[in-house]
């Protein structure tokens, strides 16, 4: 498995707070669009098709 499924984010609580804060004041539709943009940017950053495939599988479980 190439996907890193172990903790990898420093200051994890801060990241989580940032993620929720980014959605503050957005409607449901705006939040959904925000999430889609975020997924696409992160996916491009990862790039590695094996990692992306493994992430798609892991998220489906």
């Amino acid at each position: 498995m190439k996907l890193n499924t172990l903790p990898n984010i420093a200051e994890a609580d801060d990241f989580y707070a940032d993620l929720i804060a980014a959605h503050e004041g957005l409607t449901k539709a705006e939040s959904d669009a925000f999430n889609a943009r975020l997924i696409l940017l992160l996916a491009n950053h990862i790039g590695d098709r094996t990692v992306l495939s493994e992430a798609l599988s892991a998220a489906a479980k």
Partner: protein
């Protein structure tokens, strides 16, 4: 002045076959004088086969239909002797622009790679292509070549068995019968031949309608670009495409959605306001041709049925985004022509024709896959699909990262027959782009273009390596095309054919596809590969 599609270019003329006591048997009868049927006829006649082409009409296609012809198609037409005329008449374009809502998202350049004789694409009305093909047939006819193009000859019944085909044909002067060793059905998406044989398609109908219009703008202010709109203000919730053709004709493609009245939407009083909203209210234009089109992504389960073989739209259909219809049909024709010729001569086993199915069905699958993905991006099928589509477009305006995901049609490239039964040995250390199954890549040589040196037979391309001038396998002579460093004008011969190795031997098929490759010449191995490429048991 009459338009070319208003002139009967192959008017009905009585043929001696119609007065024969018993039905005359021909080796090859082609039904349909469209781009695929005519390209196939010319290829076969150049190979020495007599050909009869039947068409129920006597004029080239009304309206423009296919407009975008790929580099590969132009290379095929070069071999058939009509490439220059098409390129001179056509419009070359490289720039594409993508719009979302009211904004331009980004522009892209097709950036044709250096070292190719032909551009990535030209735009040309289908009726001009057909006119050039008919002209080429006439030249061959005047040279005494056995090509018989029969207008107003409509096939009314067809009977096929393992030994041949029987046809009944209706003409303005009544019916007559013909027999054929092989019947090639190039009679379009609605193929009457397919219907007469009770054959059908696998695949899906794409549930949408498009208004396709060709408009003449005498003072056309739009540049030579491909412009594609997602969800534009003038066609809300749908897509639009604008593309230039010769003679100040522009192709307009407006998505209409599913629940429409096609007859109503085709009326000029409904079409003109849509076009005006698109082009701007002050733009003067004249409608040349309008069609409402529901396209399909599907192909026949098999293209070969006893002695009846299907090619082009009669065998497979795709959405128009990607220019994969006519271009893939022309590639069907070139794939079939040499195989049919060798089988009829007895130089190859009948089983060679099975490779037409294997190779061109794989190509159809590839085209349909690209085409289906493009239509799914253009017309998202679910709420979440639309969400991601819009997110891709929004991001692409600002970031290059997501631009490769924007899919307004992946433009036609020739299929590589990776799984072909005809493929011989590969040397994996050589460049992937010229692996067995792929089309030979063009290269500028010190005295011309490589593709112009691949003239339609089996050839052995050798680079920096000795080999005999001719290798003979049965009735097949494989002529050597000997190149070395001094021919390599700009290093591209080495880059495309050698990579990290110092020498190369390529077995090239009559359709300019690569059958096998080695770094050195070995007679036994080459003979074995030629037999393999002829469909003989390996």
């Amino acid at each position: 002045m009459s338009k070319v599609f208003e002139i009967p270019l192959y008017p009905y003329a009585r043929h001696a076959d119609q007065d024969a006591q018993a039905p005359v048997r021909h080796p090859i009868v082609i039904v349909g004088a469209g781009p695929v049927g005519l390209a196939l006829a010319i290829d076969l006649v150049l190979r020495g086969q007599p050909v009869v082409v039947l068409d129920e009409n006597d004029k080239v296609s009304r309206g423009s239909r296919a407009i975008c012809f790929s580099k590969r198609t132009l290379e095929i037409f070069d071999r058939l002797g009509l490439g220059d005329g098409l390129v001179d008449k056509g419009v070359e374009w490289n720039l594409g622009k993508v719009y979302f809502d009211e904004r331009q998202v980004f522009a892209f350049n097709l950036q044709p790679e250096a070292g190719h004789k032909r551009p990535a694409f030209i735009n040309l009305q289908q009726y001009y292509l057909e006119q050039h093909l008919v002209d080429r047939c006439r030249v061959l006819e005047s040279e005494g070549k056995p090509i018989s193009l029969r207008g107003s000859n409509r096939v009314t019944t067809v009977r096929s068995d393992p030994d041949g085909v029987e046809l009944e044909i209706n003409t303005p002067e009544g019916p007559y019968h013909l027999q054929a060793d092989y019947l090639i059905a190039c009679d379009g998406a609605a193929s009457p031949i397919r219907g007469m044989l009770g054959l059908d398609f696998l695949g899906r109908v794409f549930e949408d309608n498009f208004l396709i219009a060709d408009v003449v703008m005498p003072d056309g202010k739009f540049p030579t670009e491909r412009r594609f709109w997602f969800d534009p203000p003038f066609n809300r919730g749908q897509s639009a495409l604008l593309h230039k053709q010769p003679d100040n004709v522009w192709r307009i493609d407006l998505q209409l959605g599913w629940n429409i009245d096609k007859a109503e939407e085709s009326k000029p009083e409904n079409v003109i306001p849509r076009v005006r909203a698109f082009l701007g209210k002050d733009t003067e234009f004249e409608l040349e041709w309008v069609s409402i089109y529901t396209f399909q992504c599907r192909h026949m389960e098999r293209f070969t049925h006893d002695r009846v073989i299907f090619a082009g739209d009669s065998a497979h259909q795709v959405s128009p985004f990607g220019a994969r219809g006519a271009n893939s049909g022309i590639q069907d024709a070139e794939n079939l022509a040499w195989k049919l010729d060798l089988v009829l001569r007895g130089d190859a086993p009948t089983s060679l024709l099975a490779s037409y199915d294997a190779e061109r069905i794989a190509a159809a699958d590839e085209n349909i896959r690209h085409s289906t993905r493009a239509t799914d991006f253009i017309t998202p099928k679910s709420e979440i699909s639309r969400l991601f589509r819009d997110a891709v477009l929004d991001l692409s305006e600002k970031w290059p990262a997501t631009r490769p995901l924007v899919n307004s049609g992946r433009l036609s490239t020739p299929a590589t027959y990776d799984a072909s039964p005809l493929n011989g040995p590969n040397n994996a250390g050589m460049p992937p782009r010229t692996r067995p199954g792929s089309v030979a890549a063009d290269v500028a040589l010190s005295d011309g273009w490589l593709m112009d040196r691949l003239t339609g037979g089996f050839q052995l391309l050798t680079i920096n390596v000795p080999a005999p001038d001719v290798v003979t396998v049965g009735n097949i002579s494989v002529h050597r095309l000997a190149l070395d460093r001094s021919d390599d004008l700009n290093g591209l011969l080495s880059a495309r054919y050698l990579g990290s190795v110092g020498s190369g031997v390529y077995l090239i098929r009559p359709d300019q596809h690569i059958a096998a490759r080695w770094t050195d010449y070995d007679e036994a191995s080459v003979i074995k590969a030629v037999k393999g490429a002829l469909g003989m048991p390996k």
